[in-house]
Symmetry: C2
Subunit: 186 residues, 2 copies
């Protein structure tokens, strides 16, 4: 069984006009994705932003729930947020995982857009179940991961498709569905 | 193929101590669940609260995205939020669906807790695919739907289970996973 890591990327990502931007870290993203990560057995959930002030903000949110008022107010939230780590960039994230596991993780990128060369959810699920190595799945904020990040991927996961042509899930919802497709009871 | 309706219930729901309360309507719930509903072909997403001021607030959020600044700023959000309707209670929601479809919907409740008498995702998926009648799935805010609502159900959907014992998904994540399990590509 693989060790699955998850990272929410705030830079470089695209805005709605296709420009590379840095998005703000939002409280709700951290909470929702941490809770999904905890449900599906993710080893660690990285919140990745190059903006120092936003890393400090994110650490303060975590402190509130881990040792502050929130830790006694809602113990289940504390458990989920204990999975969260803050990193400045993708390279730092990769190094942290390599330090923890002794291996460079297989890098999996996600996108709402279709692409000729993707791995299916079923195929990735099978690899996670059979290969005892670390995998890192990247989620993009804004309008998705920038090409510079997509190009670094070892694997590109197929997009989530429903019965309609609408493909604008929130990153929180996409994270939940991805984890359920990879680890949910079948 | 069934017509699927979704309702987010803000009263009566439980708080963390098991008391029946009314929760606040939150902007993020409306946006995230509307986007998931739009992705998976839900007919209408009802935001249900007995608090008049919160219904007015919710209508103002919808106006912003449907005809205000947001409608031109982000057209995909407009498309999703067009699915949202505001109702004061479950009975009003049922009547609205009956008026629109000519039929009383089959009422499906959801819960994170296990229960001896539930319908599996696979069984509900099969019914939705084969029965051309309306179904209404209820999602609870707070710590879940109150017993008074659970007791009215025609069907109780099995809880979402991952590989861990942690069962505290956000209602936004749960909604996304439920819709994907019922309508996602398999």
């Amino acid at each position: 069984m693989a060790d699955l890591f998850l990272a929410l990327i705030h830079h470089p990502v695209l805005d709605k006009n296709g420009q590379v931007v840095t998005t703000a870290v939002t409280n709700m993203d951290i909470h929702d994705i941490a809770r999904s990560a905890c449900t599906y057995g993710v080893r660690r959930f990285f919140v990745v932003t190059p903006v120092r002030a936003l890393r400090v903000l994110a650490e303060r949110i975590l402190d509130h729930w881990e040792t502050g008022f929130g830790s006694t107010y809602n113990a289940t939230r504390k458990e989920a947020l204990a999975l969260v780590a803050i990193e400045p960039d993708l390279d730092g994230t990769l190094m942290t995982i390599e330090r923890q596991t002794g291996l460079r993780p297989t890098l999996v990128v996600t996108s709402a857009r279709s692409h000729p060369d993707t791995i299916s959810f079923a195929a990735l699920r099978a690899r996670l179940a059979s290969q005892p190595v670390p995998f890192l799945i990247l989620l993009g904020t804004g309008w998705g991961l920038a090409p510079a990040v997509l190009q670094r991927a070892d694997l590109r996961l197929e997009p989530i498709v429903g019965p309609t042509a609408y493909n604008h899930l929130s990153v929180r919802s996409a994270a939940a569905i991805i984890l359920d497709r990879l680890y949910g009871a079948r």
